[in-house]
């Protein structure tokens, strides 16, 4: 019991401390590719610390939703992160929810962020919310389908079971095609959900193209810090989900200290390399026009659907 509690707290601390580093790493990679030196990878920590010290300004026109949303968003994202195996294949909280709970914990945070964007009544907030609603409604079917494709091959919707089976090479070697399709679909979904290029540009301050930035335009001080931290956390949870479902090799399958240490080291290397890949993708591709996003997410949905169909075809 105590051991489980320690593991849960350790996982929460790792997720919270690593997420600003991942955000900083992606910025650094982009800066290097643009021939700039760029800020240190630890800059986001300083930004968060500064924002927490600042006094927040809240508009008179807002309701309780505006002040409650940052806490709700942060809590739901962290709860989602605790359901995903990070460095140990059996998370202590795996009884609390499966992969479908994970999807809807993210959706809960997104829903409240959309409401908060509308709450202040500014034109940009409403526009950002409307766009976020489009993207969220298009990513959800793709994400659910790709998750079903993985769950079918593993025979379970429990994330710990899926990761454990794959880590012991019980699932992926018998079905490479569904996994490949589901991987491609989930990667596109991760880019769209976390507001990266080609769907949204996290570095933009041009009002006409913003999605996530437009929604959080009214936030300041500790509220903004929480929203930013939650966004970094969401990115990290998606990266964790992808590396641990599709390449869980090296993850600790037992509680031995050596295995745990190795699992943690391998996890950090894998997540960092995926973050570098995202940084390179952001430098290589232009942002899509808003009305072309449906094409990209349509591709993600079809890929996930194919993953599921292949599971049935390939069994002959």
């Amino acid at each position: 019991m105590l051991q489980a509690a320690i593991l849960i707290v350790a996982q929460a601390i790792i997720l919270l401390t690593v997420s600003p580093y991942i955000v900083g790493l992606i910025r650094k990679v982009k800066a290097r590719l643009q021939c700039r030196r760029g800020a240190s990878v630890f800059q986001p920590y300083a930004d968060l610390a500064k924002l927490f010290r600042k006094q927040p300004v809240v508009s008179d026109a807002t309701s309780w939703i505006f002040t409650a949303t940052p806490y709700l968003l942060f809590a739901s994202t962290l709860a989602a992160g605790l359901l995903v195996p990070v460095f140990l294949s059996h998370t202590p909280l795996n009884f609390a929810g499966n992969i479908i709970a994970l999807v809807y914990l993210f959706a809960l945070g997104t829903f409240f962020l959309i409401l908060a964007g509308l709450d202040a009544g500014s034109a940009f907030g409403g526009m950002g919310s409307s766009r976020e609603a489009i993207v969220a409604s298009l990513t959800e079917p793709a994400m659910i389908m790709s998750i079903f494709a993985i769950a079918l091959t593993a025979g379970s919707t429990n994330l710990s079971t899926i990761v454990h089976k794959t880590a012991l090479l019980e699932g992926i070697v018998t079905d490479p095609s569904p996994h490949l399709m589901a991987f491609a679909a989930l990667f596109i979904v991760a880019l769209a959900e976390t507001g990266r290029v080609p769907v949204d540009n996290p570095a933009t301050h041009l009002e006409l193209t913003m999605i996530h930035e437009a929604m959080v335009l009214e936030y300041s001080g500790r509220y903004l810090a929480l929203v930013e931290w939650a966004a970094g956390l969401k990115l990290l949870v998606f990266l964790t989900l992808i590396v641990n479902i599709f390449a869980p090799w090296g993850i600790a399958t037992s509680l031995a200290p050596g295995a745990l240490g190795l699992g943690l080291a391998v996890y950090l290397i894998k997540v960092s390399s995926l973050a570098v890949v995202i940084g390179v993708i952001e430098s290589m591709f232009a942002k899509l026009r808003l009305f072309r996003i449906t094409d990209l997410l349509g591709v993600a949905f079809i890929l996930a659907l194919l993953g599921m169909i292949f599971f049935y075809i390939m069994r002959g």
């Binding site: 079809i302 659907l305 194919l306």
Partner: protein
């Protein structure tokens, strides 16, 4: 004795045909004509790789020849002809289609399921290790056919036709370890000549109408 087990080999063939189907969807989702041509070339490379895998597993040598011809003709020569056509026409991308891209993708997803349900009663009767690819081959043929219907530009219609041919090749490999070599050679020659004729004919279309939109044909009068 084979160096790899038949089960792993069969999975490699499955994976190859899955990649073939994936490139079909890339063609459907792509607006830029030159990227469509590149995707077709990539698809032909995957087809050749799958054929080599089948040849390696079965020890049937003439499939190697067919695979080599696939690479030369479909991955090098025909894409080069099509690229020239695209370059000479000043049409870089297709903006108007009969079916828009998201709807096209969904229809193609439906076609894959249709192909799967049609072949489902037949596949368990087969004994070849490539039998699972039959469903995918049928799906590729249907998607190629759909591309010819959905797109208006002559170049993408040619690509749809060539995709259908790739699907037939995969189907023949899946159902019977490939056709006799002489038939295969005849088909390759036909496809090459077909692509050449359509290329020239597209130029004529451009000259006559200042566009390669095949819907313009409805205005032809005697």
């Amino acid at each position: 004795m084979l160096p790899i087990s038949p089960q792993i080999g069969s999975q490699m063939v499955d994976l190859g045909s899955a990649l073939l189907l994936l490139t079909c969807f890339a063609i459907i989702a792509q607006r830029r004509l030159s990227a469509c041509v590149d995707m077709f070339a990539l698809q032909s490379v995957f087809l050749a790789a799958t054929a080599v895998m089948v040849a390696f597993l079965t020890g049937i040598h003439h499939i190697y020849i067919a695979a080599a011809l696939t690479v030369i003709i479909k991955a090098v020569v025909i894409p080069r002809i099509l690229k020239q056509v695209v370059e000479r026409l000043n049409v870089k991308r297709e903006l108007e289609m009969n079916v828009n891209i998201p709807a096209g993708l969904l229809i193609c997803g439906g076609l894959v399921m249709l192909a799967f349900f049609i072949t489902q009663p037949i596949i368990p009767l087969g004994f070849l290790l490539t039998r699972d690819s039959l469903a995918i081959a049928l799906a590729i043929i249907l998607i190629g056919f759909f591309t010819m219907i959905a797109r208006k530009k002559a170049v993408t219609q040619v690509i749809g036709f060539l995709v259908m041919e790739n699907g037939l090749f995969l189907g023949a490999t899946a159902a019977a370890y490939g056709m006799p070599l002489i038939v295969e050679l005849g088909v390759f020659f036909d496809v090459l000549v077909g692509a050449l004729i359509i290329g020239i004919y597209t130029h004529r279309l451009q000259d006559a109408f200042d566009s390669v939109d095949t819907t313009k044909f409805t205005t032809l009068k005697e």
